[in-house]
Symmetry: C2
Subunit: 227 residues, 2 copies
């Protein structure tokens, strides 16, 4: 059995962006896991990992932290299960995609949803969250909320290059989903679980892609309480 | 023998961005080809293809146009040669990368080099090139030149997410180059062959990656007359 340390917000909602990559990767591999919820501010709870962030997994005696390293661990240890990368070239290009999502899509999404996320973190994390994210964004959460329309335009512009990709093929990874799809889904699931207004309307080419992703594994990502 | 229709500029320089993807893919597969240079304005010369742009290849009796379709053709027909995509997942993610490069990196690079490109197209294409690109950019070539410093900052910002990727691995595709590397190289080779100032200084993480790419196949891309 694998244990997954991940953030839990109000009402137990699993809202951690990067942990969703791990959740989907575990489902893809057909591996059961037990969730170990932690507060964002409780660094003592995850000090055993040697780091300060989730996701972390414990797989037998092996502890792995960082969503990318976890994906590589799962791919290598469970090589007989469905592949996340499809080989070395797929792994390389997926790593470049991972970098692009982390450096471009995540920072574009954050100001859109940050004030809503704050309302849905564990009550014990509210002060910590505000400090961290106001420092990161260099504005108050309330200012971020007033700027949401502009931020929404920006994230839609950043995602626009992917429209052509998902018009040509059902998933980022081709005719079936794999890890690059989970990377992108994680950002949209983060928004979905924490922020009431939808990022997409139904005419957006990524709306259909996200629906297909939410259907996977008996609606695993869909059947989570949303904002 | 495969024939490749591609743009030729002053002094026979092969400056066509998209044709460089095909050139590198052919080298990767170890396939010989004969170049068939055409002027950008001479649509009659390529009307046989059913389209108005290069690259086009004729492989036996099969005509294929569009660099992506050519890559898929080469991968499928020459499946016993080194792979460009590494399987279906790699092909899917590479297609998404291709879309990102075409919609984000190419439009960012164009205003940086466009005035220099104009000086190196076939003399018979100068008027056509100016019309096409001034329409596209909505400014004159001379205005584009004065805005080059700003455009250069923009293209460097757009490429920044890839820095972390090429620090973790030697190539976009991992430990060895494949088609996603050729997609990115094509944009930098377009700049290199047409515009004297280098886009990178030697401290740029992509400088080392580009050097490795230019070394491939006995310096195939390096040993082309540059601007």
């Amino acid at each position: 059995m694998i244990t997954l340390w991940e953030l839990r917000g109000k009402g137990g909602r699993p809202y951690s962006l990067f942990s969703w990559r791990t959740r989907m990767a575990l489902k893809h591999k057909g591996l059961d896991f037990a969730s170990q919820p932690v507060k964002m501010s409780d660094k003592a709870a995850i000090a055993f990992s040697g780091g300060k962030t989730v996701p972390i997994i414990k797989d037998g005696e092996t502890v792995v932290r960082d969503s990318w390293k976890i994906a590589e661990h799962l791919e290598d240890r469970y090589a007989d299960k469905p592949t996340l990368f499809g080989g070395e070239i797929g792994r390389g290009v997926t790593q470049a995609f991972n970098t692009w999502v982390d450096r471009v899509v995540v920072p574009a999404m954050m100001p859109v949803i940050v004030a809503d996320v704050h309302e849905r973190v564990d009550p014990g994390d509210e002060t910590y969250f505000r400090q961290q994210f106001e420092g990161f964004l260099k504005c108050t959460l309330e200012e971020a909320r007033t700027r949401r329309p502009h931020a929404l335009e920006r994230v839609q512009k950043v995602l626009e290059p992917l429209h052509a990709a998902v018009k040509r093929q059902a998933f980022i990874c081709g005719s079936a989903p794999a890890y690059a799809d989970y990377i992108l889904l994680s950002v949209l699931q983060w928004a979905r679980v924490t922020s009431p207004p939808d990022i997409f309307d139904s005419s957006d080419p990524l709306y259909g892609w996200r629906s297909r992703m939410l259907d996977l594994y008996d609606g695993f990502a869909r059947n989570i309480p949303t904002a």
